[in-house]
C-alpha cells in the first residue's frame, strides 16, 4: 500500500468556522482519511508546538492554514508550518485576504485593547488590566505573544502555495482541492482554488441593470427573491466577488458581502465594487445645477465595512493611517 499523505491544520486569527467547514464535507471526510493522516490539528488533537518543531522540514505534504496573522505566536507558527509543509494553503477568507479580523486595521493595538478590555458594556475591569507582553509576578515572569497593530494576511508573512477562498470555504471547493491534491492535478503555484467568474455568474436572480435611485438595506423591506438585489437598491458585493459558493447567500435572499475575495485580474475588491456601484447609482437630479454628490453618498454609512468587509489587510491602503 502506498504511504498516506500527511495533512496539518492550523488556526490563527479566526473564528473557528473554517475548522467546522472541514467537517461540512460530511461523509467525504472518510475519503480524506483514506488518503491522508492528520498529523497536526490543534482544534481536535493534542499535538504540541514542540512536536511540530521536531518534525523534519517538509514533513507535512499539505498544511491548511486558516485565520489572519495578528499576533507574534501566529507569525511564528506561520513560519514554522511553512518550513514543515511541502504545500501551504491559505484556507478561508482570513488567511486569504484578511477576513473579518482584518477590519481591526481601522484601529491600532491600543484602541483594540481599550475597546475589548475596558470600554465594552459587558466588561468589568476595575483595575484596568490590559494584556502585556510580560508581567512580573511572585511566581516569576509571565509572558504573552505580542499583539500587533496591524492584521496581516498569510501571504504577507510567508510564501503561500494555494488559496481556498470563502468564509468558510464551501464544501465543494474543499472536496475539489483535496481531489486535486490526491490526484496530483493541482494548478500552477499561487492559484486560487475556485472558479474564475464572479458570484453574479452563479446567481439565479434576473438582472435588469437598472439605475438605482437610493441605497436600501435588507431590514428596510422584503426584497423580491427573483430579482437582482443590486437592482432593488441593496448593496450586493456579487459583481466584485469571486464565485465558487453557488451564490448561497443570494439563494437565502441575502446580499453577497464579499467573502470570496476579488475576481482574478481585479486590482482590488473594494474599489472594484466602489466603481461598480458608482456606475449604477444615480439620481434624476444629478444633472441639475447645485447637485451635491456627497449628499447622495450620505446614504452609505460605512464604506470600509461595506466594501472592505473581508479584504482590508490585502487592499491597496491596508489599514487606517496610524495616529502619531
Amino acid at each position: 500500500m502506498l504511504e498516506k499523505l500527511k495533512f496539518g491544520f492550523y488556526w490563527a486569527a479566526s473564528c473557528g468556522g473554517c475548522e467546522i467547514a472541514v467537517l461540512d464535507i460530511n461523509e467525504k471526510i472518510l475519503d480524506v482519511l483514506e488518503i491522508a493522516d492528520i498529523v497536526f490539528w490543534p482544534v481536535a488533537m493534542d499535538v504540541k508546538y514542540k512536536d511540530v518543531e521536531a518534525m523534519p522540514d517538509g514533513f507535512m505534504d499539505v498544511c491548511f492554514f486558516n485565520g489572519a496573522v495578528r499576533t507574534e505566536e501566529q507569525e511564528d507558527l506561520a513560519n514554522l508550518l511553512r518550513r514543515k509543509a511541502k504545500i501551504l494553503i491559505a484556507f478561508g477568507t482570513c488567511a486569504h485576504i484578511g477576513g473579518i479580523p482584518g477590519l481591526a486595521n481601522v484601529a491600532d493595538r491600543r484602541e483594540v485593547f481599550e475597546r475589548a478590555y475596558l470600554e465594552s458594556p459587558s466588561t468589568v475591569n476595575p483595575t484596568m488590566i490590559v494584556p502585556e507582553v510580560s508581567v512580573e509576578t511572585e511566581e516569576g515572569v509571565l509572558t504573552l505573544p505580542k499583539f500587533y497593530n496591524t492584521v496581516k494576511t498569510l501571504d504577507q508573512v510567508v510564501e503561500v502555495d494555494y488559496y481556498i477562498p470563502g468564509c468558510p470555504p464551501p464544501p465543494t471547493l474543499i472536496i475539489e482541492a483535496v481531489q486535486a491534491i490526491a490526484g496530483g492535478s493541482l494548478p500552477p503555484k499561487g492559484a486560487v482554488l475556485a472558479p474564475p467568474k464572479s458570484v453574479c455568474d452563479e446567481c439565479p436572480r434576473t438582472r435588469e441593470e437598472k439605475k438605482i435611485p437610493a441605497i436600501r438595506r435588507i431590514i428596510d423591506f422584503e426584497p423580491d427573491p427573483e430579482k437582482c438585489l443590486l437592482d432593488q437598491g441593496i448593496i450586493c458585493m456579487g459583481p466584485a466577488t469571486r464565485g465558487g459558493c453557488g451564490a448561497m447567500c443570494l439563494n437565502a435572499n441575502m446580499p453577497c458581502t464579499g467573502c470570496g475575495g476579488p475576481c482574478p485580474e481585479a486590482i482590488e475588491q473594494g474599489s472594484a465594487m466602489i466603481s461598480a456601484l458608482s456606475t449604477v447609482l444615480g439620481l434624476a437630479s444629478e444633472k441639475e445645477e447645485g447637485f451635491d454628490p456627497e449628499e447622495l453618498m450620505e446614504q452609505l454609512k460605512d464604506p470600509v465595512g461595506t466594501f472592505y468587509k473581508y479584504g482590508l489587510p490585502s487592499s491597496i491602503v491596508n489599514r487606517r493611517v496610524m495616529k502619531r
Binding site: 505580542k146 486590482i267 482590488e268 470600509v304 496610524m322
Partner: protein
C-alpha cells in the same frame, strides 16, 4: 530645510481637461510644477484603485478633471460616474485616516486654461498647508518596526 513641495497626480480627460491644460500652456499661464499629468480617455475611466495607488505610491494630492456636467462629456455620462466615485472615495479616505481634501474633482473645459492654472495653484497651496500624505509615513514606520 527646503519647503515641502507636494506631489500631485492629475488624471485629465482627453476631451476637455487635457485640452484645458494644453491651453494653459500655450497661453503661458503660470502655475507651479508640482503636477504629474496622466491623460485618460474619460474621467469616468479613472478606477478608484488608480487613485488609492497614487496615494500609496507617494502622491500628496490627486486631481481628477473632466468635462462639465450635464452634457459636455464625450461619453455622455462618464463625468457623472467620476463624480459619484470621488464622493464615495472621499468617505472611504476619511475612514482610513486620509484627509479627503487631498482628492479633488474639477470640471475644466478646453477653453478654461485660466481655470486649470488656478486649480493647480490652489491645490499646491492647500497641500502645502496639509503637509505630506500620511501614507508616506506608513512606509517608513513599516520598515522601522515589524508591527
Amino acid at each position: 530645510m527646503t519647503e515641502f513641495e507636494p506631489r500631485i497626480v492629475g488624471f485629465l480627460c482627453n476631451w476637455c481637461s487635457y485640452a484645458g491644460a494644453d491651453l494653459a500652456g500655450v497661453s503661458r499661464f503660470q502655475y507651479p510644477p508640482n503636477l504629474r499629468v496622466i491623460r485618460v480617455m474619460c474621467s469616468g475611466s479613472v478606477h478608484p484603485a488608480y487613485i488609492l495607488e497614487a496615494f500609496k505610491d507617494g502622491a500628496d494630492g490627486v486631481l481628477v478633471a473632466g468635462c462639465h456636467p450635464p452634457n459636455d462629456c464625450h461619453y455622455i455620462s462618464g463625468n457623472l460616474k467620476a463624480q459619484r466615485r470621488v464622493a464615495l472615495l472621499k468617505k472611504l479616505m476619511l475612514q482610513l485616516g486620509l484627509e479627503p481634501e487631498r482628492l479633488r474633482l474639477e470640471w475644466i473645459s478646453a477653453a478654461e486654461g485660466e481655470k486649470f492654472a488656478r486649480v493647480i495653484r490652489e491645490m499646491v497651496d492647500d497641500l502645502k498647508k496639509l503637509g505630506p500624505c500620511p501614507l508616506r509615513k506608513i512606509e517608513i514606520s513599516v520598515t522601522a518596526e515589524s508591527d
